[in-house]
């Protein structure tokens, strides 16, 4: 199989993947056998019993064989029951996390993913997990239906608003794998992508300790977070307005607010804008910024502020 | 069922009501009636959707349905039940009479049925306006502070949608009875041919049957 997967199936990177693939190929080969049988017979008969010009005979009707009819009812029946049993056992395994699985909270919103770890670290777009350890994602959505899909792990489950659902997997290979949103969620549906980054246990712990900062400076880290936390979706850093105002030159600017007043954008203002976005609304913009950033760990908030500061004119 | 195929006998005098593509009046009548039954089944399945919603939310939040029922008046509901049952009786009588060729009996019973249907709607109107007055609206507009547990709005959504669609059916029934009355007065119906009366009768009984379920489900339990 190797890393690239087979003709039909993508690479395998989780414990369940191999079983799902065997199941797939089992169904596949049964189908091929029946297909070749039925369509082969069709082609053969079509050729063998083709009408020959000049021939005017009308074939005799065939009698109905109870035994034949019974055979082609019973044999497929047995086969599908077999497939069913296997499929349903694997389905239960696929959906029942082992009790000591590592818990991660997933929030989906149009059109971004956010992953929160038990120690408070939270990160957008990139899901970091350790290899060889069961991970359980508890998922919910802020708005409409989404669906969490990692082909390499063969897992998928819908993410619902107002209800927790979960998936679990145990990654078997270090590497990066795609996350897709597979429940249609509007204009940005096809852009609602992510990555699973599978680390060794040691790397993972280091990453978690530093909340992903590693040895970056706060400004650099803020820049990473700007993408990871999806600020980029609404805020540009090149001066062009988006859903929200641009962050370029924000620091030190006199910001016009919706209620007519104005305020100097200093560190405090920026911090407050992130954790309590609806407190002061910038004039000309909707109060559309999610309030979820309040739960970011302090280092990350500091890093973001530092980064925005670095964008001052 | 092979018996329903009929032998074509050409040259037989066709009664005026017999359409050209039917062979006999019986065939035409049976066909119309079966068509009506099929239509009634579609009505049942239409309401089935709401019964499913009812069952699902009742299983999830039984307490809400008990509380909701206390806000509905079983006396008014019961009165309306009796009214509808009576109208079912009169509509059955109207068919009974026309089958015997009694056109006066037919007409009287059509009017009685119509009166019952209108009574039903009037009572429903007062029930609705009373609710609106209290601020009981379906879904997110629900604003009655006395009973404000979670999901009570769902109960009233279901209540309004179910009784609303049922009410629309009653209203359509009234229209049909007016139409029947006009034709009856014009003397269109005879003991030989009264298909429209039969069909509207069937329709009306289904409207009644649906209410037979709505009443206990919404008002009583």
């Amino acid at each position: 199989m190797g890393d690239k997967g087979t003709f039909w199936m993508p690479e395998q990177a989780s414990k369940m993947a191999a079983e799902i693939d065997s199941l797939f190929y089992f169904v596949f080969w049964i189908s091929v056998i029946f297909f070749v049988g039925v369509i082969g017979a069709m082609i053969y008969f079509a050729w063998k019993y083709r009408h020959r010009p000049g021939e005017e005979h009308i074939p005799d009707p065939l009698p109905e064989h109870k035994a034949t009819e019974a055979a082609w009812i019973v044999i497929p029946l047995i086969l599908v029951l077999l497939i069913f049993t296997w499929g349903f056992k694997a389905f239960l395994k696929l959906n029942m996390p082992p009790p000591n699985a590592y818990p991660i909270q997933v929030r989906a919103s149009s059109w971004a993913w956010n992953f929160a770890y038990p120690n408070g670290t939270s990160i957008g777009t990139e899901l970091h997990v350790p290899v060889g350890r069961a991970v359980k994602l508890t998922m919910s959505s802020d708005d409409v239906l989404h669906s969490f899909f990692v082909p390499a792990f063969r897992v998928k489950f819908d993410v619902l608003p107002n209800r927790y659902t979960s998936v679990w997997f145990e990654a078997t290979q270090v590497g990066e794998y795609d996350i897709f949103c597979t429940e249609y969620c509007g204009t940005g549906h096809s852009g609602m992508l992510g990555k699973v980054v599978v680390h060794t246990e040691k790397e993972f712990n280091e990453w978690l300790q530093s909340s992903g900062q590693g040895d970056m400076t706060p400004e650099e880290y803020g820049q990473v977070l700007y993408t990871q936390q999806n600020c980029i979706v609404c805020h540009s850093v090149d001066g062009s307005p988006g859903v929200g105002p641009t962050l370029q030159g924000l620091y030190g600017r006199n910001e016009q607010l919706q209620d007519g007043s104005s305020v100097l954008a200093d560190e405090n203002y920026i911090l407050q804008s992130i954790v309590e976005p609806n407190f002061q609304i910038v004039s000309g913009y909707p109060p559309a910024m999610p309030a979820t950033y309040a739960t970011l760990p302090a280092e990350q908030l500091d890093a973001l502020v530092a980064y925005i500061k670095s964008l001052a004119n | 069922m092979g018996s329903s195929t009929v032998t074509a006998v050409h040259g037989e005098a066709h009664p005026a009501h017999l359409q050209h593509h039917f062979v006999s009046s019986d065939q035409q009548f049976d066909a119309a009636k079966m068509g009506m039954w099929l239509f009634l089944v579609t009505e049942i399945l239409l309401f089935a959707g709401m019964f499913v919603a009812y069952t699902v939310y009742r299983v999830w939040h039984p307490e809400v349905f008990v509380a909701g029922a206390t806000l509905l008046d079983p006396l008014l509901g019961g009165f309306n039940t009796v009214v509808l049952l009576a109208s079912s009786f009169t509509v059955a009588l109207s068919i009974h009479y026309i089958q015997q060729g009694n056109r006066t009996g037919l007409l009287i019973n059509i009017f009685l049925t119509m009166a019952a249907a209108v009574t039903f709607l009037v009572v429903k109107y007062f029930e609705y306006t009373h609710k609106f007055h209290l601020g009981i609206f379906p879904g997110e507009h629900y604003a009655y502070s006395e009973v404000s547990m979670p999901y009570v709005a769902q109960f009233f959504s279901i209540y309004f949608v179910m009784t609303g669609i049922h009410g629309v059916h009653v209203l359509i029934g009234v229209g049909l009875f007016i139409w029947l009355a006009v034709r009856a007065i014009k003397g269109h119906f005879t003991a030989e041919w009264y298909t429209p009366v039969e069909l509207v009768g069937l329709y009306w009984h289904i409207v009644d049957i649906i209410w037979i379920f709505l009443f206990p489900l919404l008002y009583l339990i």
């Binding site: 959906n95 659902t165 | 009636k33 069952t55 299983v59 019961g78 079912s88 059955a92």
Partner: protein
């Protein structure tokens, strides 16, 4: 041609009507007594009986072509299928832990209620 059509006698119709009224009284009465979990099945049972009476006599199914009964019966089977198969989901939602059987609203309300209880301090409950 009317010879083919069954004419339901007045007596039968009247009896049907009286039976229906009687059952309506029974169902209202039964709902006023508290029978615990029995109230719901009794009410539905009576409604089913009433509906059958209407169908059999007022709608003359009892005397009618069998095919019309079949039409109705198949329709009702589908209603039962719709309700029961939907209940397979909604009544068992969350049976294998990968889906929470409560909504997030419900979870939050429970937590708030618990907090409120704690807030009252020991002995407050």
């Amino acid at each position: 041609m009317a010879h083919g059509h069954h004419i339901t006698p007045f007596r039968t119709l009247l009896q049907t009507f009286i039976a229906l009224i009687a059952l309506t009284v029974v169902t209202v009465a039964a709902s006023q007594i508290h029978l615990g979990p029995l109230n719901v099945p009794i009410a539905i049972g009576i409604a089913v009986v009433k509906a059958s009476i209407v169908a059999a006599f007022f709608m003359a199914l009892k005397y009618d072509n069998r095919v019309n009964f079949l039409v109705l019966a198949i329709g009702l089977v589908m209603v039962v299928v719709f309700i029961s198969f939907t209940l397979f989901d909604t009544a068992f939602r969350g049976d294998i832990e990968n889906v929470d059987h409560r909504t997030i609203d419900q979870i939050e309300r429970t937590e708030e209620a618990l907090k409120a209880r704690e807030g009252q301090g020991p002995g407050g409950g």
